[in-house]
Symmetry: C2
Amino acid sequence: MKPLPQVLAFDVFGTVVDWHTSLVREIDAMDLGVSGDEFALAWRAQYGPAMQRVMSGELGWTLLDDLHRMVLDELLVRFRIRNLNEVQKRQLNRVWHRLDPWPDSVAGLTRLKSRFTICTLSNGNIGLLTNMAKRAGLPWDCILSAEVFRAYKPDPATYLGVARVFDLEPAQVMLVAAHHEDLAGARACGLQTAYIERPLEFGALRPKDVSPRSENDWHAANILALAEQLSYQ
Amino acid sequence: MKPLPQVLAFDVFGTVVDWHTSLVREIDAMDLGVSGDEFALAWRAQYGPAMQRVMSGELGWTLLDDLHRMVLDELLVRFRIRNLNEVQKRQLNRVWHRLDPWPDSVAGLTRLKSRFTICTLSNGNIGLLTNMAKRAGLPWDCILSAEVFRAYKPDPATYLGVARVFDLEPAQVMLVAAHHEDLAGARACGLQTAYIERPLEFGALRPKDVSPRSENDWHAANILALAEQLSYQ
């Protein structure tokens, strides 16, 4: 058994907050004549490619808020939504600041905070993550973001950046995430890893395979269950 | 009367925490054969010149923890302290992570947090500020630092950086500080300003002139008093 880490760095979208349900609810409430479910999935699907354009150098450094807006503008054309003015588009784009936490997130983070330093390590920008935390009551000790490191996960600069910020060895930091590719990036940098099952991340119609993989140090049904597991060590 | 800001950004050393008392207590407890008061003042006095070496380009980007250590090594020679090993020097250097808040700080910040987004805007590095907040119970929504902007106050990049992070106009942000030169830097960038009296920042023997200056938007005896003033607006 490895020694416990000192810092837990959390992926946020999907791991701590339920982006799919939150987006669908807001989009459906706007009565745009489109399926909130389809629109939400399309928006999220373009997130990786948009970041890739930054990391490849095609785009200069761009905050996630601005990438979300670029994708939104494309989707409004593709879904033939023509009746939104600029204020409404800005308001819709900020739905990513208003995502609800999974039911266990606040209680789990609060419990983990009593023993560990808990921070975000998200591709979301600092303002987005701060607004989200304030609204949802997420008790972060510190908000770290791609914006601090000017690189998007899975760039090693992000994972190693957390260790450097806290003047720790990589193995003294653990990434907590619901996505194996994120955890693989962290592991390659020497961080510990904890996988969180979020089977309904993409909605109730598309359950995700959440079976354990032996390469992760921890596997938990949710954040509260992770807190429970770590408290026995 | 200007509209109230949305974000309050706080200077930390001297404004939120009492560095002088905290340093004197730890240094005196180490029994180094020097005056804790003199050593603390000398350490703090070299803070500005050390940052100046970074901002002039003489030194590359350097975190405050490392600047504190450079100054500490000089002071150990100047004060003829020869009996500290490396572990003890590292431990002493981290005294800046263990500063106690002024008696009103936690209550005042907690009250302000219910109405505003509250963040640090300090020359301290992120790890230092996070460790300090966790130990002292400072309820920041977000920790912003010279480290995020790779510039030290009073560089405009720091004040304007806060507005940019939150996608606000400078006038929608207020700097709260016990130092007029910091507030002047913020005002020059268009931020609102609040001065906090900390007459004993340099110890009981050296009371500071804390008389009001008309150029600041607000003037308060302490952070709790500022919360009280803002609640009437």
